[in-house]
Structures are given as structure tokens and as C-alpha cells.
């Protein structure tokens, strides 16, 4: 347990001391800042870009929902990809650099190694996205004068279930595949498969594929039952983590 705490501390320390502290928070905060502003000015931009053809484009006045929708879409489409790229080397990078040998020849078990990686990455992801959501909420209120907390919190929470599940998938992929690119490929493959599954109604209702459209649906007030996607998403995160531990235990370093 002592070695686990020491290694978990190293994981947080490493996030703070390396490029990791800039990339994910930088992107998430950029999206959080630009989302409400873009939602506000999009109608004017479209009007300005439309040529003077005599056509009249009827665009309703933007509301807080447009800002939230922008945030929800950015999480699903952009932050998911960033997550896959950042965490593709979460285990394999330590194997390649020899630091896995450094720590695993000490009283640190391989399961503790994997679990610490997941917990630190998960806390980093949750903290970053929660901060981004808070910025989105504040700016939405500043720009639109109205920013109900509940739909934003629900949409962000649902995406975090997805994010934690994808993090589990990436930890597994990085434990199985030796290269960053290979693990990223597996992550993108999982993303594409679930995206395809999300056009089939039963999959949306009973699998993690339902988590992909859920944040936008919550913002638009048309979300269906979310218990199935949430439970299966959390289950897949747990299964991925268990599979990562099993695979890493079998690996020779």
C-alpha cells in the first residue's frame, strides 16, 4: 500500500511537471472559453458570411442552450480524441523508457501500477473537465444572462462516464500494445465502433454507445433513459481495467 501511494503520488507529480499539465487543460479550457462566445456570435457570423443574394436566413436568437450544446459536442468530438491520444502511451511509454523496470523491481505490484495509472488519469480528467464546465457555466451566464446548472452538470457528468470508460480502454490498449500509435489505433477503433453502434436504438439504450449522444440530448431536453448506457459504460471501464491488469501481469519486461 505504501508503494502504491508513492507511485500514485509520482503519477500526479508527473502530470504537474510535464507536458500533460498543458495539453488537456489547455484544450478543454480553450473550448470552454470559446464555446459561449461562439454561440453568441454565430448568427451574426452567418449573416456576415452569406452573400447578398436576397435570400433571408431566419436564425433564432441564441440562448444558453447553444453554448451548452457547443460544450457537449466539443467534449464528445474533440476531447474524446485528445483523451485517446494523450493516454495511448500511459503504460507503453514507461515500458519503452525503462521506468517500468525501475518501479516494478521494487515492492510495487503490477496491478497497483495499472490502478495508479488509471486513478491519476481519471482524477486529472475529471478535474480538468469539471473546471472546463465551470468556465462554460460562468461565461454562459455572463454572455446570455441565464445559465441553469442542472443540464450542464448532467451533460458533463454523462460525458465523464464516457471519458472514464475510454480511459479504461486506453489503459488496456497501452498495456497490450507496445507502441503509442498502436494503442491510439485501438482507441480510435473502439470510438468508431461505438459511434456506429449509436445509430441502432437498442445499442443506444443498453450499451455505452448511448453515452455518445446523451450530453447533447440532455442539453436539448430530449434525453431517453440513461441508466443502461451509464451502467454498461462503468462496467466496461471496470472490465477494461481488469483486462489491463491481467495482460500486464503476463507481460515480460
Amino acid at each position: 500500500m505504501t508503494s502504491f501511494r508513492a507511485f500514485l503520488g509520482k503519477e500526479f507529480w508527473e502530470i504537474g511537471k510535464t507536458w500533460r499539465i498543458w495539453v488537456l487543460p489547455g484544450i478543454v479550457l480553450f473550448l470552454a472559453v470559446t464555446g459561449p462566445v461562439l454561440a453568441r456570435v454565430t448568427p451574426q457570423l452567418l449573416q456576415a458570411l452569406a452573400p447578398d443574394t436576397g435570400l433571408v436566413i431566419e436564425i433564432p436568437d441564441p440562448t444558453f442552450r447553444d453554448a451548452y450544446l457547443q460544450w457537449a459536442k466539443n467534449l464528445v468530438q474533440l476531447v474524446s480524441f485528445v483523451l485517446i491520444l494523450i493516454f495511448a502511451g500511459v503504460v507503453s511509454a514507461e515500458r519503452r523508457s525503462g521506468t517500468a523496470v525501475l518501479v516494478l523491481t521494487k515492492p510495487l505490484g503490477r496491478a497497483a501500477f495499472i490502478v495508479a495509472k488509471y486513478l491519476a488519469g481519471g482524477a486529472f480528467l475529471v478535474g480538468t473537465v469539471a473546471a472546463g464546465a465551470a468556465v462554460t457555466w460562468g461565461l454562459t451566464w455572463a454572455v446570455f444572462g441565464e445559465a441553469p446548472l442542472r443540464p450542464l452538470a448532467q451533460a458533463t457528468g454523462l460525458w465523464l462516464v464516457w471519458g472514464l470508460m475510454m480511459l479504461g480502454v486506453m489503459v488496456f490498449a497501452s498495456s497490450v500494445v507496445g507502441s503509442h500509435a498502436g494503442a491510439a489505433g485501438l482507441g480510435f477503433g473502439a470510438f468508431v465502433l461505438l459511434s456506429i453502434a449509436s445509430i441502432w436504438a437498442p445499442a443506444v439504450r443498453y450499451s455505452p454507445a448511448g453515452l455518445l449522444g446523451a450530453p447533447s440530448d440532455i442539453v436539448l431536453g430530449r434525453a431517453g433513459p440513461l441508466l443502461g448506457p451509464t451502467l454498461t459504460g462503468l462496467a466496461l471501464a471496470g472490465i477494461s481495467l481488469a483486462a489491463a491488469v491481467a495482460a500486464f501481469r503476463r507481460k515480460e519486461l
Partner: protein, 308 residues
């Protein structure tokens, strides 16, 4: 620690990588408290043995024990310090931060950890270095590697080719660190540099193609496997003497270095000492020198492993 029990024991250790037999029934026993040289040419299986001993790889068959525990058991880790052949450290840490982190992995904290870190940075000659590990030279990395392996005062220290990539000054520094541990820690030290072994080790094993070809204290090994040699200097030339002794039953080989000197490999030293002066006198030669040549570890190594 039980005094008579070997610190490290291998029994019929075999490791296959597909069709390649990296270890082929290797067996040895490393005495407690020894500085043990694990010698072998490149590809003999030294690193594979160390990877099995540290739990990084699993044997195909056979067993490996450290301090009486199977190497797969978690208990072994707390008693062992390990430096791999190419150590990997977090480049964003300083040497002090790395040693503190490794100490915490072993459950050290507070004043004890700080004292150990200070002492080991001093031992490694890195006390005043503020640079991050990513900016260290190869020699500094290797010395930091030995230091991190010692942070918990291990009973067994395993070093894989710790000097192979170092310049003479770096090599000396690492060897001095190893020599300073003699009698306090069992050091298991793999290398193919024979002079390093002669300098710091008291016992050696020679690994050849996955098998332990010999294991003994260095002196015993030389006595057991070394061929006795006698150097002769005769005037005006040693050539007639070499020709005369070439067919003597106690001469096994002759190395001519030209002119006055010849080196005879002999099977019976006493008979050689009696018959060489007689042969010189019979050929009208003056004997300037007649002395035993000390058997080197290199002679034993080449004899056991072969030159191919």
C-alpha cells in the same frame, strides 16, 4: 539471513524465446556476502538470468530463489536492489527527487529517507548536481542507478553490466562504489569485462551458451582451470631451447615471442623447473630468466568459453 544459505540459487534454469534457448539448465549458488562476478560473452544469457531473478521474466523451467524465497514472490522485492544494463529514469526528476521517490516505494520517509538520500548522493558523487536526470551523462546515470539500488540497504544487490558503456573515469567510480559494499551486501554483478571482475569480485561464475561452465572463488578457478605457464629467457636466443622442448611430454604448448623469450604451457611445473635448465645447458645457452607466469582470469575464460 541464514549464514550458510546462498543468497541466490539457480536450479536448472531454462528460458526459451521461441526456438532460441537463452538459458539451458543454468545452476549456481551465490554465497551470502560475496561480490559475485557473473561472467559470460555477449548473448550467454546473463541479462536473461537477471530478468528472471528480478521477476521481469519467467523461466520456462527450473527455479530461482533469492534468500530462500522464490523470485516470483513479492517478499523478495524488499530485499533486492537492481540496476538494469540500460537504466531508465524519469528525466524530469532531479537525482535527489528520484532517490526520494524510490525510497518512498520501499516505505522510507522522513529523516531516515533524507539521510539515506544525502549519503547515497554523496557516494555517487552527485551531491551538488541540480540538473534534471534527463541532462545527466551516461556515467552519472549509472552512478545514480547504483545509488537508487542501494536506497533501502538491500541484502542482495544485482547489477547488470554496470560499467560496459562507461569511460575509464566513470568505470572507476562505479567499481569503487561496488567495492565499498564488500562484506555488507551480496553483490551479483554481471559483466563481460574481466578486469572489472578481477578488481572487485571474490567469486565468479562463467556462463556460456546458457549454461554455467564454472563457479568458484577466483583463485580456485585459476588453479582448477588455468594452464600453468613458464616464461624462459635464454641468450643468445631461446629458439634452440624451444625446438628442443617442443616434444617434451610435459610441454602442452609453446608461445614464441621471438629472440630470447619463450613461454611454455606445462602440465608438470616441477619437472619443467628441473629439465629446462638442463636443456639450456645441453644447447650451450645461458639462462637469464625462468619464472612462472600468473594465470589470468582471461586465460580461464577463454579456455572455458572458447574464442569463437
Amino acid at each position: 539471513m541464514v549464514p550458510d544459505r546462498p543468497a541466490i540459487e539457480l536450479h536448472g534454469l531454462t528460458k526459451l524465446y521461441g526456438a532460441v534457448r537463452a538459458l539451458d539448465g543454468a545452476s549456481l549458488a551465490v554465497p551470502s556476502g560475496s561480490v559475485f562476478g557473473f561472467l559470460g560473452p555477449n548473448g550467454a544469457g546473463k541479462t536473461t538470468t537477471l530478468r528472471i531473478l528480478t521477476g521481469l521474466a519467467r523461466p520456462t523451467s527450473g527455479s530461482a530463489r533469492i534468500l530462500g524465497h522464490d523470485v516470483a514472490s513479492h517478499a523478495v522485492r524488499s530485499a533486492v536492489g537492481y540496476l538494469p544494463d540500460v537504466p531508465g529514469f524519469y528525466p524530469w526528476m532531479t537525482g535527489r527527487e528520484l532517490l526520494s521517490f524510490v525510497g518512498r516505494l520501499f516505505g522510507l520517509s522522513g529523516p531516515v529517507l533524507r539521510a539515506r538520500v544525502d549519503a547515497l548522493l554523496d557516494l555517487a558523487g552527485l551531491s551538488g548536481v541540480k540538473t534534471r536526470v534527463g541532462g545527466y551523462s551516461r556515467g552519472m546515470v549509472q552512478r545514480l542507478g547504483v545509488a537508487q539500488a542501494l536506497i533501502h540497504a538491500p541484502s542482495v544487490l544485482m547489477l547488470d553490466e554496470p560499467t560496459s558503456a562507461l569511460d575509464p573515469i566513470g568505470r572507476k567510480a562505479v567499481l569503487d562504489m561496488i567495492a565499498s559494499l564488500a562484506g555488507r551486501t551480496t553483490v551479483f554483478f554481471s559483466t563481460h569485462i574481466l578486469s572489472d571482475v578481477e578488481r572487485v569480485c571474490d567469486t565468479v561464475a562463467i556462463l556460456d551458451r546458457g549454461r554455467v561452465a564454472a563457479q568458484a572463488r577466483i583463485g580456485e578457478l585459476k588453479a582448477r582451470y588455468g594452464v600453468e605457464k613458464i616464461a624462459v629467457e635464454a641468450v643468445p636466443t631461446a629458439e634452440p631451447l624451444a625446438a628442443a622442448l617442443a616434444h617434451a611430454p610435459w610441454v602442452t604448448a609453446i608461445e614464441r615471442s621471438g629472440g630470447e623469450r619463450v613461454v611454455l604451457a606445462v602440465s608438470d611445473v616441477e619437472r619443467a623447473r628441473r629439465e629446462i635448465p638442463a636443456a639450456a645447458a645441453a644447447h650451450g645457452l645461458g639462462l637469464r630468466r625462468l619464472e612462472s607466469v600468473e594465470v589470468s582470469l582471461e586465460d580461464v575464460f577463454v579456455d572455458l568459453v572458447g574464442e569463437g
